[in-house]
Amino acid sequence: MWEKVKNYLVANALNLNIGFFLFLLVFIIPQFFANNDSILLVIRGLIVATGGGYIFYKLLLFRKNNPNFKPSESKLLVDVAGSIIAILTGLLFGLILMLIVNPGQAFGGFFVILQGGFRNIKSFGDMIYFSVPIILTGLSVAFAFRTGLFNIGATGQLTMGAYAAVYIGVKWGVIGEFSPFLHWLVAILGAIVAGALWGAIPGLLKAYRNVNEVVSSIMLNYVAMYLNTMLIVKYIYNRDFARALAPKSTAVTPLMNLHYLLPNSSVSGGIVVAIVVVIILHIILNKTTFGYELKAVGFNRDASKYAGMNSKRNIVYAMVISGAVAGLAGGLMYLVDGKFLQPLNVLIPEGFTGIAISLLGLSSPFGVLLAGLFYGSLKQGGFYLQLYSFTPEIIDIIIAVIIYASALGLFLQKFVIRAMKKREMLIDQKPEEAVEGSDA
């Protein structure tokens, strides 16, 4: 056992050192320089340089180890290129729409969208804040998708999670007097459990009654929506404002020192939770037998059964995990100062956005993280778009076009592969010409 740990530490010494260094830079050091803008600027620069340098180093290493790498044969690269084309299509559509509506301000507005969350420190922090629930619902949908299930019910699971979290946040203040962090943790656990239970229903129906999970989770979305309204009015209603009561301050998501690095923004520790979930799901899906079984059942239910896997149980587990992540999204979304659950009988849109994010992120946890941040950036762009004479709904239009374009994935992939092969042929031809030249 110790031998193994030691080997792991030695083999990953560089990764661990860089990780520790970044941890210090993000969570520990900034609090000592809270009011010193120039030092904070240096710290931010160091973080970007370290992260960027690390990625660059990895790319160089990869090229060195794979000299004959052909982009068109890498499924990952082809898929990523497909996603990028879909994104460009969506942005182009947005630009055209803006040109039609108001040609004078279209390019200015478009630049604001592109700038997105990278406008200033505040918008960067807000981008992270808004992307947290999106990343988590995206993970929920992506996890189900990898196991062959289409979880269109993330909205419902998110709603149940949000209700459970807010309920615990409002009513169980006793825990908060004992320990604030514990109160938040219990509220979050409540959200996870509520989401998991709500996700288990379509899983059970699929496994034991062969009910299509798409249909059952659409129904459950609406049941959750009405249930949420009913329970809010019954137990945690604030009549003066016609909304749910605010959770006690002890249940609000801790800031985890992030506000020192990104002052004035709404950023909170939610992003840390989201990244932890990304890593956990990545490990489950790619490094464990359990995840392998889940994926096998998704590929071919009968074959996995024949191989001795319990396909029914695995379907239920997959939906439970997916639901738990969506519930967590709901918890983190509403355990925030100044955000209130509302008894409006409207589906919470973040659940459906998760489908888009999962698709853009190619259903891989790290991809979803990037896609979620991209969405957060677009949203920030939409927010600042109001400086120009456009409404932020244009972002939703762009996202819808992006999903539609990525739904045409097969077509895009063929296109990308053809373009890549053309380029490779050009590169291959050059040395051959040289050889011919020397012969003559």
Partner: protein, 322 residues
């Protein structure tokens, strides 16, 4: 209130919600029978309702047409927009063999955003106002028929009556004509249908377009019957229609019954305070609103073995597959 009074009060309201539900569910039936799952109904309804409402608004302001003609034009425009919008889904699902749930989700996201965006540009707010009330107080002649006249032809909407008529026509086309049979065969066994010289792609396009037309029209009916403005939403009627289709086991007669039951629950949730019996029960509105969805889940769970769902629905057509 006596029982009869309650019935006369409730039934017209129930019929007003039954008709759009049944019509949109029938649209979904057309699409699924041809082999394409269409969960974009909500989005198509929003698009149809939105453009229909704009048309009606503009006609009210600028043209001096009889009020029911305006409604009729609005319905027609809604249907045409529905067809155009559904073509996007058809193209992705049929030609591109895309995941039908994903492309439909894209349309569902697009429609409300587009409606709000455009309405803000045209009107400054996201609401599209509709001035007149399109209710017909008495249909001449027919309203004097006892009982039926009271329920159907007093305080009814032209859109409702037209919806009933179109529903009947559509059912006859789907179940009593050669083309209808061919369309249904595409959703059951497209390979076999293809071998008999039926053009699968064409008929699937027809199926999706019919569903688009009915859903678009359903959106306009929704606007005309339930509110005085269009606010970029059809209150989940598109998804409710999907539930109606499943609860109705893909069968027109049962679709009507399901739509009636679902409509009944919606009406009860808002009118229960005037019904003594229900008022005494003291249940929340939401319980009645939830019930249709729960009933659909229960039906799905317990009778899924006898499901009459088209067998090839949701699968892209692959001529090489047997």
């Amino acid at each position: 209130m006596s029982f009869a009074d309650i019935m006369y009060f409730i039934l017209p309201l129930v019929i007003a919600s039954t008709v759009p539900l049944a019509l949109v569910a029938l649209g979904a039936l057309f699409s699924e029978r041809s082999g394409v799952i269409n969960i974009a109904l909500e989005g198509i309804m929003i698009m149809g309702g939105f453009v229909g409402a704009i048309t009606i608004h503009l006609l009210e302001e600028n043209a001096h047409l009889p009020i029911q003609t305006v409604a009729l034009i609005g319905l027609l425009v809604g249907a045409i927009i529905g067809i155009i919008f559904s073509l996007l889904h058809a193209f992705a699902a049929i030609n591109m063999k895309a995941n039908q749930i994903i492309s439909a989700t894209a349309l569902n996201m697009f429609a409300p955003a587009f409606a709000i965006f455009t309405a803000r540009i045209i009107f400054g707010t996201q609401r599209v106002p509709i001035g007149d009330s399109y209710i017909i107080t008495r249909v001449p002649g027919l309203a004097s028929i006892p009982i039926i006249g009271d329920i159907f032809f007093q305080g009814a909407y032209l859109s409702t009556l037209l919806g009933i008529f179109i529903f009947i026509i559509a059912v006859i086309v789907l179940y009593k004509t050669k083309q209808g049979l061919r369309l249904r065969s595409c959703g059951e066994n497209p390979q076999a249908a293809d071998s008999l010289g039926i053009n699968i792609y064409k008929l699937r396009y027809v199926g999706v377009m019919v569903s688009g037309a009915l859903a678009g029209m359903g959106g306009v009916i929704f606007v005309l019957s339930f509110s005085t403005s269009f606010n970029a939403t059809v209150a989940g009627f598109g998804f409710l229609a999907l539930a109606v289709l499943i609860f109705g086991n893909w069968n027109p007669k049962r679709i009507i019954m399901a739509a009636f039951f679902f409509g009944f629950m919606r009406v009860i949730s808002s009118t229960k305070s005037v019904i003594p019996f229900l008022n005494d029960l003291g249940l929340e509105d939401e319980i009645y609103l939830m019930l249709p969805y729960i009933a659909t889940l229960v039906v799905l769970a317990f009778v899924s073995k006898n499901s009459a769902a088209p067998r090839a629905a949701g699968e892209p057509y692959d001529p090489g597959k047997r």
